[in-house]
């Protein structure tokens, strides 16, 4: 036997918990994201409303009725059948006092819990703001009146350029008409629907109500229902992609997936990555902000080359000091410590290698997003939403050959002691689409300034097909660039210690002038802001044409 009140409380508890779990309202990560102020007011609301309902329903008393499961179908005296079959029935009867009842405090807790879940599901900062503003809104209703028609409004007449003389001539009678300078006829203003100055508040309220009713009727009219139905029927087969598109936006799912494999080791040891927080994407991406022109030389020479590559990639793609970053750092993945033949294997079995490196799901997510977009383009076209369709389909047709290839890319960068610089493009197929995998092989050389500068060229060529940074792309005058060593003679002279450095502004080390690169002292005072900026911004302009995001 269980008391009716206890049964009600338990049923409410289970139902509330189920709703809370189903809608993630009780998920700790969701609750931790709720604004503390909202949480406080929700808890207060739950306490007050829960207590009020608990007291109003008299839950503090023992249950007046009980429920019992009669397994043999036999009912006791004073019992009535509630629900069930002849053999098994749930019976209800008057509680003589021995039916099981939860303690009142526990039942009180159930009601507070119920309202807490309700509050968490419905309250947010906007709700709070609206509630705070409610008295002011009510007080302000009907306070805005239509302007008095007799009120003289001073409107400054706008005279088109060149019309002043024509008007003057017209005023003096030298011209018969104003022609194109004639003032346009004033359009009749819209009818003012605000409260009239002599309108009683109740009348105004009635008018507002009538307007709302008319709007509602218009909304429920037959054509509107038909159009809604057509739209729904068209969208129904696309519910899944529609939902996924919304979810992707909310989740911030990747819109691109670019992968670069290199045989160089991780630039940071496991311990450094742990202490500097580089396992976390945000911290890793944050480290690319405001990179110095050159990376510091590390004690561990094994990782120096990796650091330099990481540094160059960071500058070329992510450093926000230069215009238009190439993409979101989270969508770029450098896979360190890859075997030298990674590109060959990737070309032969892309899916296998991507799975092996644990990036298959990441890449397929972008592909799925791309497919969803294509499907939704079709939907927009079916719905006849010309603007959206033309926008989406326009992009799709322009990029049908390359939209996915723009957002998903694979590159390999191999440094080897004996290697001479060589760039190769390998063809492969993924999701029945052709992909090109770029592979750059270059000589090694950690801590060597010449090699460091060469890496800008190597990585630029690797990331953008056909990219070249030369004399014509540089800020240096092409004539001066032809005789780069002339600066060397200038620096041999003793006078003009500071003024001589002006020559460095006309020497672009990224063109590979070895003379400056051999001078460590000059590299310390080199005006990187001129040439590095040019290198990065030019690269990004070209890169944006080749690669990007969905």
């Amino acid at each position: 036997m269980i008391g009716a009140r206890t049964l009600t409380s338990l049923t409410l508890f289970v139902a509330t918990a189920a709703v809370g779990v189903w809608f993630d309202l009780l998920n700790p990560s969701y609750l931790s994201g709720v604004d503390p102020e909202v949480l406080f007011w929700t808890a207060l609301f739950a306490m007050l409303a829960g207590t009020l309902v608990f007291s109003f329903l008299g839950m503090v008393n023992r249950s007046a009725y009980y429920f019992r499961v009669a397994l043999d179908g036999h009912l006791w005296e004073d019992e009535s059948p509630f629900v069930g079959l002849r053999s098994v029935q749930v019976a209800v009867g008057k509680n003589p006092g021995d039916a099981f009842d939860l303690p009142p405090s526990l039942q009180h807790g159930v009601f507070v819990f119920l309202f807490f879940v309700l509050g968490v599901g419905t309250f947010d900062l906007r709700t709070l703001d609206l509630m705070v503003e409610f008295p002011a809104r009510v007080a302000a209703t009907g306070n805005r009146f239509c302007p008095d028609p007799e009120e003289t409004q001073v409107v400054e007449e706008k005279v088109d350029p060149g019309c002043a003389l024509v008007r003057r001539a017209y005023d003096l009678g030298f011209a018969k008409d104003l022609g194109s300078c004639a003032p346009e006829e004033e359009e009749r203003g819209d009818v003012c629907l605000l409260r009239q100055r002599d309108e009683p508040l109740l009348h105004y309220a009635w008018r507002l109500l009538d307007e709302s009713y008319t709007d509602a009727r218009r909304g429920l009219a037959g054509e509107r229902w038909a159009s809604m139905r057509t739209s729904f029927e068209a969208k129904a087969p696309y519910l899944e992609p529609l939902y996924r598109v919304q979810r992707d936006v909310v989740d911030g799912a990747p819109r691109a997936s670019h992968h670069l494999w290199t045989n160089l080791p991780q630039p940071y040891s496991w311990w450094q990555r742990l202490t500097q927080g580089f396992f976390n994407d945000s911290t890793r991406c944050e480290s690319y902000r405001r990179l110095p022109p050159r990376p510091e030389v590390q004690e561990n020479p094994e990782r120096q080359a990796s650091r330099e590559v990481n540094h160059v990639l960071g500058q070329l793609l992510f450093d926000p000091r230069y215009a238009d970053t190439a993409g979101s750092c989270r969508e770029y993945h450098v896979h360190w410590g890859a075997p030298n033949d990674i590109c060959e294997r990737l070309a032969e079995d892309p899916e296998g290698v991507l799975r092996e490196w644990g990036v298959w799901s990441d890449v397929t997510q972008v592909q799925r997003r791309y497919n969803d977009r294509i499907r939704l383009n079709r939907l927009a076209f079916e719905l006849g939403s010309s603007q959206r369709a033309s926008g989406w389909l326009g992009n799709a047709t322009q990029q049908s050959q390359s939209a996915l290839q723009r957002a998903v890319s694979f590159q390999c960068y191999v440094e080897d002691a004996g290697a001479s610089r060589a760039l190769a493009w390998r063809a492969t197929t993924l999701w029945d689409k052709p992909f090109e995998i770029a592979e750059m092989r270059a000589r090694d050389g950690a801590g060597d300034p010449e090699r460091f500068v060469e890496r800008y060229a190597d990585l630029s060529k690797l990331l953008v097909k056909g990219y070249h940074y030369g004399n014509l792309s540089s800020q240096v005058s092409p004539l001066l660039a032809l005789q780069p060593s002339s600066g060397e003679q200038v620096f041999r002279r003793s006078e003009g210690y500071l003024a001589k450095l002006e020559f460095l502004t006309d020497m672009d080390i990224y063109l590979g002038d070895p003379w400056v690169l051999r001078r460590d002292d000059l590299l310390e005072v080199y005006p990187y802001h001129i040439h590095l900026r040019n290198v990065v911004e030019r690269f990004r302009r070209r890169y944006a044409k080749e690669r990007g995001r969905l």
Partner: protein, 197 residues
Amino acid sequence: MIGLWFVVGGVLMSTPEGGAYLASARTQEIEHSLSALSETPLERLEDARRYIDVMARNACTSTSYRLQSSCLTQAARRNCRSERRRSRRERCLRFMDVLVTNKLSERAFISENEKYELMKTYQDYRGALRQELRQRYGALAAGLSLASTCAGDDPGCVAQAIDAYCLGRAESESLAWHHCTAALTWFVGYASHPAQS
């Protein structure tokens, strides 16, 4: 043998290669420039500034900063040749170097549009430009004084602070080390000139 050492030493002295712009050398050069500015009468400094201005507008006008730099350096050397005493000549070359660099760096401190605005607004354009430059140098010096921990007028410490500050500026903002250094050296040297107190 001794003669050979002199020859090698002489060659090395005449070609300040390899480490002329390492931190220690830079600090020393800035310190020497600060001393040169403080030891030269203000009238002479003003004359030199006017001379460089005139040369930049006339004989050394060029769209190539490399050529203008060479020309102004030559002009400065010619101007300093009039100093009879060697110590004065060397001092002259140092402050002239600062002035030439400041002339060349004007574009880094004041853009063409700002110059045009000054030209439109003020009748005495050159005076207004000078005033504006002084303000920009002052803002730079304010940053230096906030960043520096130098106590008193220790020129070595100030030189070191200027070098470090300008390296930082060159790294984080669009201002070349030598532009920043010349501007600060002139501002600090001129402001702390004994004749000013």
